[in-house]
Each structure stands twice: as C-alpha cells, then as structure tokens.
Amino acid sequence: MESSTLPAEKFTPKELVTDQDVRWCPGCGDYSILKQAQTVIPDLGIPRENIVFISGIGCSSRFPYYMETYGMHSIHGRATAIASGLKASRPDLSIWIVTGDGDGLSIGGNHTIHLLRRNFNVNILLFNNEIYGLTKGQYSPTSEEGKVTKSTPMGSIDYPFNPVALCLGASATFVARSMDRDPKHLQAILKRANEHKGASFVEIYQNCNVFNDGAFEVFTEKSSKKNETLFMEHGKPLVFGENADKGIRLDGFTPVVVQIGNGVSANDLWIHDEKDRMKAGILSRFFDNPSKPDHLPRPFGVFYVEDRFCYEDKMQVQIDEMKAKRGEGDLDALLRGKETWTVA
C-alpha cells in the first residue's frame, strides 16, 4: 500500500486544523509550536494523507488531535517505539513524533535512544518544559537540581538530563534546539528536521505557564535573550551578545567567551560546522545554569547533522537481496520443507 506518487495536492495551514477544541491552558507554549507546525507543513510538499503524527502521554501529546493528518495518541513513552514499527513498515510516510521531557526522556527514554541509533527517518519534537504538567506539577528528568515541586518540597535531588548531549551520545544524526517563543527560528528548524534523511531530534523549550512559568525566561525575554543565547549557523562564527559583540573561541578543547574588537575579529572565532561531531559534543555541554557567573550562552539551532543509512532502507535492501538470491517466496515450497515422505 504505497501512497500515491502524484504531485502533492496543495493544502493550507487552515486545512490542518481539526474540529477538536484545543485544550491546553491559555498561555501555554504548546499553542505556538502547533501554530508553527501548521504554518510550515503545507510548504513541505508532502501530501497531507502521507503525514502521521504520533504522540505518547502528557500535555504535548495531545498534539495529534489538533492536526488534520493521520495521528495516534498512544501510551506513555511509547510514541517512538510505535513510530519505529510504522516507519519500518511504511518508509513512504512522513512521521512526526511529539513527546515531552517526561514522555520521551523518562518513561520512554529507552525507546528514544534506540530510535536514534537505528536512525529511522522520522522527526522527534521533544517539548521540554522541565516539569510534569498533565499530572499537575512534579519535577521531570530535565528539572534543575534543587527544583521545588509538589513531589520535591525540599528540592529535587535528581541530576537533570542534558537532552542534546544524551541524543548525541545515542548517535543521533540530527540534533537541534529551538524554542516556543521564537516562531521564525522554530519554523526554520522544523523545515531542517524534515529535510534531514534520518532521525531528527528537535528539543523545543516550551513554557508551562501553569506549573513552571518562566523556566526559559532568560533565553526568551528581550532583555536577556541576546546575551544568554547563541544562535548557531553553519559556516558562520559563533557570535552573540547585545550588539553581536561577543563570540566563542576554542582554546584547545575549551570554549572561551571573547569580546569582539580590540584585535579580535569574527574570523578568529569558532566557525560552526554542523558536521563536526566532536565540536557538537562541546556545544552540547554549553549547559550551565544561567545564574552561575561566567557561564556560556545556551546554543540554539542545529548542533549536528550526519549522513547515515536509515534502518528502514537497510531492512528493504536485505529483503531485496534475499529475493534476488532465492526468488520471491513460494509458500508451497516453504510448507513442504526440505524433507518429506509419502504414506500411500
């Protein structure tokens, strides 16, 4: 049941809206992410019927109900595993996984890392709000140390995951970070994720205004954004700061913040190379708590891209090879087996 190969019929963002009322809390960052997805997807040239959104459980996982495509709202943590089976069976589909920090990194952490190493050609959108929203405010695996929540009145003693570093460690072939409050950037990253052939992991900082309001404020608010964020662009120097006056230089393996000017020009800075796995590793560790003095800015954009075979393609190659060698399977020959005897 291959899907049609006719030129995709155009559809509008409006046609991606379903008849279901959106049930997120007013002000939730999820609204923006939904909006950006609905804006970008019609431009991707994919027939709407070939698009599938799969989610697990959590606030973010309601997403498929609001997308007029094929969709499945599954069980907690398993969207990645379900998507793996669907992609293995139907490489022709465009599959988007919507998950959260609890869904994708806690209960479903195992499937996330295995999907990444297998490199199914799917897109994972991980809405990171550093809290459990749907269950009303417990700390999550990305909540910072010491976080006071309903389940940690004395502060969390869990050390948090660094999702980007984790995914690089799992040999992901596309790793990026964006945020709900920067629609343009988010749109661009969604496009890049879709373009990448292989598993694309996009961490999206998403504000939960009810249980963890302002978790990413320093990165999203005008007053601090320019100094606290580093927008990476392939082939361009790593520049940030209020007046684009600061940059990152590599001193051996150590990144250092330098002031541009006074003999330091953009040419002396670290030039971002998305294909450099080692440097992506260093960038992923730009993860200091922004309240610490001398911390590095938080990077946004594409950390790393790699061209590697996809599981579903190799799966098909083996089938084709076996067919070439033995011919299309003959059921009667299979049932008969190698050795028979006749009873007269």
Binding site: E49, M72, G85
Partner: protein, 614 residues
C-alpha cells in the same frame, strides 16, 4: 548368525549425553529414518538450562526423546524403553524415566572415575558395577574405544575422532531396530561433502556401530516396528515454533499483507524469530526491538500502517506488554500476540513448560479489556491455530492472543502439511471512501462489529485514534459516562460475536454425552487422548474434548459440558481453565493439576480416569 526377530508396536528411546555428545543430532537422525520408513512418531528435546554447563555434570545433560510406532502416537511418551547414556550423569538424570525392565545402552568410558565424580557418584558406587541396575537390561559398550579403533588409520586427531562417537550409537540402534542407514549416509554426505576425511570418519563409525550389533553373539534379538497406518498423504516433520513461523507467513501470503514481526529475545519463543528472519524473500520484516514494550509497540505502529503485525514472547514479556495490548484493544487494530508459555511466576522455569498464563491471557490487563484467546494443541496445530489467530485479528480488527508452550514449541511430529490452496481465505479490505456522507467515522462498525481499517496514505480518510475512551463511531475523545459503558459493552460484544464464526466443539475421542468428559486445552492434548483411548478400550465411559478457542468459547460448549455427569480439566497449572469454566457454566468441574514444569504423562491421566470412574 541366526537372530530372533521380535515385532513391537511402539518404542520410546531416550538419547542422553553431555551437551557435546551430539545427542540431538543422533535423535533427529533416528527420527527422520523412522518417519521415512512410515512410523508415526512424536519427539521432545530436553536441553540443559545452562548454555555451557560444565562437561560431565548433571546440569550439562542434553536429551532427546523419540516415541515411534506402528500405531498412532500422540505424545513423546511417558517412560522410555531404551535409554542411551553416554555418561554417568546422563544415566543418573534419566534413570527414573526408564521403565522397569527397560534397556540401558551405556558408554562405559563415560563411567570412569572422573565422570562418576562429576555426576556426584562415589567411585565404589559405579552403577554399572554395583548391581543397582539388575532390574534392567544393560548393554555396556566402550563407545569411545570402539570409535577410536575404527578410526586408527583416519589420520584425524583424538578430538575429531571422539566427536564421531554418536554415530556408533546410531549405527548400533539402526541394527537393533532393523533400520536402513541410507538416510543418515545421505545426510552426512550432504553435511560433510566438503570435508571428505570427516565424512569418511563418520560413515566408518556409523557402519562400525551397525556391524558391532551384527557380529556380537550376545545380541540375540532384533526388533521390528512396522509402518503405522496413518492417513495417506505427504508428510514432513515439524516443530511447534517452526509451525508458528510458517503459519504467520502463510497468513501474510493469503491476506496479501506484508508480515511484520516485532519481538524481543526470550526462551522459549526466540526460535520463531530465528525461523522468520530466514524468510525475508517472503517480504517478512523482523524487528528485534530494544525491549518487550517496544516490541509490541512497533507492531501496533506497523498495524496502523496496514501490515499483518505480530509479536511474541513468553509470560514475563507478555506481562510487560500488557499496557500496549490494552492500547491495541482501544485502537481496535489487528495484532497477533503469541505467548509461548513457560514455568512462572517471574523468571520461573525458563526452559520448562507450563500452562499458567491462561488467566493472564484472558484477564491480565487494566480495565475491561477483552480479546480473543486461542491455543494450539500439538506442534503442527500451531500452524493452524496461529493462522486462525491472524484471520480473526484481521477480520474483526482486534488483537488476538495465541497460546503455545515450551512443550509443543520444541516438540515435533509428522505433519500432513496443507497446500496453500487448501488454506482458508483471509479477506482484507482497507477503507478507501468516506463512510458517512462527507465524513469518515473511524469507529463505525460492520456486522462483525468490526471498524474500518483506513491506513495512512489514503486520501480523505485522515483521522486520529488513541488510548483515551472514544465516542461511538466518531472515535473522538469522550468522557461521557453512558458512552463509556456503551463502549465497554461494545468491545466485549465484538469479541463474543466471534463465536458465530468459529467451529463448534466436538469430542476428539468418545461421545457427546456420558459419564465423564476430560476437557483439555493446549499441549495436554496428546496425553489426554492416549489416556482416553486406553480407558475406552478398557470399557470406561469417558470422552475427550479439546478447546482451541478459549475466548470466546465455542457456542455449544455449555451444551457439551451439561451432557456429562462429570468433567475433569487437566492443566499444567494450579487450575485456570477450570475456574473460567466454573464461572461461566456453573458446573462443579474437577481440576486435575500438575505444576512440575513437566507435561502430564498419559499414565497419570489414565489413573485419574480410573480413580474417578471406579
């Protein structure tokens, strides 16, 4: 030399030795020779639980039991008539299963001080010397020495020479049971064609074993077991797990769907994965997932995409899959879940058999979560019942649980395999059109109460499904109390409705009414059938019926049960089907249980019948 020739109806041989002694191969060779000759038969291998147990120890004993005869054979047999013991541990581990007066073929070299010590026997207590085996016929052969002397000029090293020991035993048994060596000679030629010196060594030792029997005067008798009068046809040998794999491929072919098999390695189910992964030219996609949960979830995704999707495990893995099974029930997607049961709970007895996951299959999920449950009775029945499981899943849009167990999974029997054209049709129709005017209702039902299967890629039928309770027909999220109750009943009715489409139950042996019914399910089939036939021959009014469909039950099951004065339900568990039967039919069914990781013997069931009817 003049020999007596004694005609026997059936014989049970147990080949036992160290895992390195090649007893599985010896057993299989004798089995195939017997099958080609026309005997009916049944076999069961018995592997050590440890992968590399120390040589010579009890833990390292590997066995293979063969029951063959000129009469119908239903089980691998209770007590063996002949025990081949390649070493002291093999004898110690199997002696209690040898019938009194039975024959022991002992490799004396395997009873040297070292082997005795490894098997925990004091040197002075060597069973071959101390008279403890006086009630048996003991044939002592120094097989190691005989093998070495047959190969003195072969130029092979001692290690390679000793590896041919099993061929000596095989040759000797071929002589004893008047069998031709042709099949094995051909097998060896195929196997070692590229290594002529090894081939020659094996053939020489095989013949040496045969000639040993022929020339020694002490062996005064040979035995003949004539061909069985089995139904005419073309037969092959089949193991349960292999039959499952074939059944799945057949169902995929007949339904025109690609087969997707998502699983995680677990004993005793893994052989299904091994078998399926060899048949990629049928377009089979096998996916070894990162865990049991991912395994079933991958199949749910695959099913959503329009494949015949199947997952398999054993009890512990099925427990992990429970939540996802519930999801599949809510999504109403076709899925086959195979449980090759083993001893439980927890890790339990991984290499031993049990039927203790029936309650788990029928009830073991959160919420009201009904699904059809089917069970295979014999190794070859695995083919037919898993095929049925696929058919039901696809036609009723539901997950189906198929139960097998370690006993039939690894057991083998002759199978008059069907031709592909004999197999029941499996019609699958994907939804292509909107089904309610301008709208597509993903949960609108047909006469089977089955919903449409609209796979991604179908234009105009975009829809969302999920695990939250859904509104009748639209499938939209619904928390409406009355709707929930309605949907719970709907899902139950859908499964119960299957009773209209499955065969009624008829007794395997005996009548549809009488004094005593033995009602079985799963792998107890052979033992019950043998016992009931024997009891009826002795004049007892007893019948045997066997359940292959457990949820829903065949429509006429109640009628059958009520037609008997008493019903006994033998199970390799602490009483599971018996509880379901009592609950549903309110009859005082009698449980008869064995929970030893071992199958029932026909003798045990026979004794129960006798005790009940006396």
């Amino acid at each position: 030399m003049e020999r007596q020739n004694e005609v026997l109806e059936k014989v049970i041989i147990k080949f036992a030795g160290d895992s390195g002694d090649g007893m599985q191969l010896t057993g299989t060779q004798f089995t195939n020779t017997a099958a080609l000759f026309g005997n009916d038969l049944s076999t069961f291998p018995d592997f050590p639980a440890e992968i590399r147990a120390p040589q010579g120890t009890l833990a390292g004993v590997s066995g293979y039991q063969l029951h063959f005869g000129s009469v119908e054979i239903f089980t691998p047999g209770d007590h063996c008539d002949v025990l081949v013991a390649m070493n002291a541990a093999a004898l110690k581990a199997n002696l209690r299963n040898l019938r009194k007066g039975g024959t022991i073929i002992a490799n004396t070299d395997g009873f040297d001080p070292k082997n005795l010590r490894l098997s925990g026997i004091e040197e002075k207590d060597n069973p071959l010397e101390n008279g403890s085996l006086d009630n048996y016929r003991v044939i002592k052969i120094d097989i190691t020495k005989m093998t070495r002397s047959a190969l003195t000029d072969s130029g092979l090293g001692v290690k390679e020479i000793d590896r041919a020991k099993n061929m000596f035993v095989l040759g000797f048994l071929y002589w004893m049971y008047n069998r031709s060596m042709e099949h094995t000679e051909k097998f060896l030629t195929d196997k070692f064609g590229k290594k002529p010196e090894i081939l020659k060594a094996n053939l020489d030792v095989l013949r040496a074993g045969y000639n040993f029997g022929d020339t020694r005067e002490e062996f005064t008798t040979r035995y003949t077991i004539g061909p069985a009068s089995i139904a005419p046809g073309v037969y092959r040998n089949i193991m349960g797990n292999q039959a499952v794999a074939l059944g799945l491929i057949a169902a995929a072919k007949k339904s025109g769907l690609p087969l997707f098999y998502g699983t995680y390695p677990i004993t005793p189910a893994s052989d299904i994965l091994h078998e399926l992964s060899r048949h990629k030219n049928f377009g089979v996609k096998t996916f070894q997932a990162e865990d049991e949960i991912a395994a079933i979830c991958s199949t749910i995704g695959s099913s959503f995409g329009g494949s015949l999707a199947v997952t398999a495990s054993s009890g512990p893995g099925i427990a992990l899959k429970a939540e996802a099974i519930g999801l599949a029930i809510m999504l109403e997607l076709p899925l086959v879940i195979i449980n090759v049961q083993r001893g439980g709970p927890s890790t339990g007895l991984p290499t031993k058999t049990e039927q203790s996951d029936l309650m788990q299959a029928v009830y073991g999920r959160n919420g009201e979560a009904p699904m059809p449950v089917l069970a295979a009775a014999t190794p070859s029945d695995c083919f037919h019942m898993v095929y049925e499981a696929c058919r039901i899943a696809l036609q009723s849009m539901t997950p189906v649980m198929f139960l097998s167990d370690g006993y039939i999974a690894n057991g083998a029997e002759p199978w008059a395999f069907p031709s592909s054209s004999d197999l029941a049709e499996i019609k699958v129709k994907f939804a292509k059109e909107k089904n309610a005017g301008e709208k597509f209702l993903p949960y609108k039902r047909d006469e089977r109460l089955s919903r449409p299967w609209a796979v991604p890629g179908t234009k105009g039928l975009e829809h969302r499904i999920g695990g939250i309770e859904k509104q009748h027909e639209t499938g939209n999220i619904s928390y409406d109390p009355a709707n929930h109750e309605f949907m719970v009943h709907m899902r139950e009715s859908k499964v119960e409705k299957l009773a209209d489409y499955i065969p009624e139950i008829t007794p395997e042996v005996g009548n549809a009414k009488g004094k005593l019914l033995i009602l079985g399910w799963g792998s107890t089939f052979g033992a019950i059938k043998s016992a009931v036939i024997r009891a009826r021959n002795k004049g007892y009014d007893v019948s045997h019926a066997h359940l292959r469909y457990i949820k829903p039950f065949p429509k006429n099951l109640g009628e059958l049960l009520y037609a008997f004065d008493q019903v006994i339900i033998p199970e390799m568990n602490n009483g599971q089907l018996v509880r379901i039967i009592r609950d549903k039919f309110l009859i005082p069914a009698i449980p008869y249980n064995k929970i030893q990781g071992l199958p029932f013997s026909a003798e045990e069931i026979y004794a129960k019948i006798e005790e009940t009817l006396k």
